[in-house]
Amino acid sequence: MSNAILEVKGLVKRFGGLTATDSVTLDVRPGEVHALIGPNGAGKSTLINQLCGELAPDEGQVFLAGTEVTAMDVPARVALGLGRTFQITNLLNDMTVRENIAMAVQARAGHNFRIWDVVRRRRKLWSEAEALLDGTPLEHRAHVPVAGLSHGEKKQLELLVALARKPQILLLDEPMAGLGHAESQEMVIRLRDVAQTMPMLLVEHDMEAVFALATRISVLVYGRIIATGTVDEIRTNAEVREAYLGAEDELC
């Protein structure tokens, strides 16, 4: 058994006639940022959804820190240390930024079937939420309900909420999408910082970010992994250039 935090073996998912995940095998090891890139509709989000338990695979296995989790539901996997962000933001819309983060802290802290305590007095929740917010662009938006955030702000909150849960491994589905030019750059710095302590599986179309963050890249096309390698290997892989990157000079 390898020392991988997350390990996927021969995963298959079919939607009717379409094989969205086609015998995918990959792993994420401690200390690494494993980027997963590929054309639109290649099956990246579908894969993430299977990893975190929202979708049941048709074949194959998923291991989390050595434990098989293929049959577990989402909360059980989260309890084992899996964290994720959503491509299309998924937040508690009527709650404020701070409450969203505190909810994640509360999820980790436990004791949530208590009906006789007072949440506001669980000071640790709130101080931890504050600490996470400090120094982020959302620092001054703590009291704003999510419904009143702009698109990019919601994307930033997605990450904070995931971090607040303190997972062992983080699955990121396009964290840069929706961020502005400047914010993307800040996000790269932040993620690099997080990556020090937390291995990640990163799905992203922003190549600048991918190349800046990834220690390893896998390329998914039509549900299959067609290449895995270092940044440089992938950057120069002709097949990848053709299927995915295109003429890179268009980029920036």
Partner: protein
């Protein structure tokens, strides 16, 4: 919101609560001013129904589970009192082993327990669905229970069970309206305090999260099914309490308490008052019952006017009476400063 205005608000709430407490305690002495003895009954009924409405609001407003089957728990609460009374007077055990009782301290916990159990069963099945399907499946289960009792010949079928004497409680004279009022008030206060705690507890917060986004909550590690089921059971128990009190108050338990229109009426009270607000259900219940009784006394076409008023409230307020009151209060406060 600035902390100052928040403090103002919480002070406002405290004053309002103190005032309300004083008024509720004094009600029996004020009946002459507010329309006679029957007003005391009306207020007793309002208190009882508002327990049911607040219980429904707990799953509906806070948990996002729109149940159209809560009459089942209300009715079961009533029937527990009725059945125990029947077996108390018959001196035969219920189902062959449960002795009957006419003690409030026995029947009320029994009613809460049984309705909680029923809520557990119905909830465990119903919560496999969501949205509109949830509305309909809770309705379906409640209807089945309704049909069951309607055809239950041994206990009067749809004619119901007449409870000749209100349950005994601490040696009080429960036939006295005023006494009964204070007993109900006591249960009401306990219930509202408990509800307040639950809503502001860890669990209450998780529940509110569930309403807003179940998928997100699952991704945080909360298992939606278990939390929702727990809430559903608590809510069922609240409705059971209301039903038990109602049976004691009416001295009657009948399938009418189980009918889907009862679920709908309680839901109407919740919406009228303001979904997801603490005092909304009370406001809604009071408004609904007062309108119903007062309009019916004025004209036989009272349903028309009730309809018009309900319509005006929906179209004219966003968030029911609770929002209306809140806006009014805000206006007064702003007028002062």
């Amino acid at each position: 919101m600035s902390t100052q205005s928040q403090e103002m608000k919480s002070l406002g709430v405290k004053i309002a609560v103190a005032l309300a407490a004083a008024v509720l305690l004094a009600v029996p002495f004020l009946t002459d001013f507010i329309g006679g003895n029957s007003a005391l009954s009306l207020i007793t009924r309002i208190l009882i129904y508002s327990i049911a409405a607040a219980s429904l609001n707990f799953v509906l407003g806070y948990g996002g589970m729109v149940s159209l089957g809560h009459a089942a728990f209300f009715g079961i609460g009533g029937y527990v009192v009725g059945l125990m009374f029947v077996h108390y007077t018959d001196e035969t055990p219920l189902l062959g082993f449960i002795p009957g009782s006419n003690q409030l301290m026995v029947t009320i916990p029994a009613a809460i327990l049984v309705s909680g159990l029923l809520a557990f069963i119905i909830g465990a099945l119903s919560l496999r669905t969501g949205g509109v399907q949830f509305i309909m499946i809770t309705l379906a289960f409640a209807q089945m229970i309704f049909f069951f009792f309607v055809s239950l010949k041994a206990y009067g079928g749809e004619d119901g069970i007449i409870i000749r004497r209100t349950n005994e409680f601490l040696g009080l004279n429960m036939r006295d309206r005023m006494t009964l009022y204070y007993v109900v008030l006591g249960f009401w206060v306990l219930f509202m305090l408990a509800l307040w705690r639950v809503i502001h507890s860890s669990f209450g917060t998780v529940l509110r999260g569930m309403r807003q986004n179940e998928r997100r909550m699952a991704a945080l590690g909360f298992a939606p099914y278990r939390y929702k089921l727990y809430a559903f059971v608590l809510s069922g128990m609240g409705c059971g309490l209301a039903g038990a009190l109602m049976a004691n108050f009416l001295r009657f338990a009948s399938p009418d308490m189980l009918h889907w229109t009862k679920s709908a009426a309680v839901m109407t009270m919740v919406i009228l008052g303001g979904v997801g607000s603490f005092f909304g259900p009370l406001l809604g219940t009071a408004a609904y019952l007062v309108l119903e009784t007062e309009l019916a006394a004025l004209t036989e076409y009272w349903q028309f006017w009730l309809g018009l008023i309900l319509m005006a409230v929906v179209l004219g307020t966003k968030g029911g009476l609770n929002a209306l009151v809140a806006r009014g209060v805000a206006l007064i406060f702003r007028g002062r400063t």
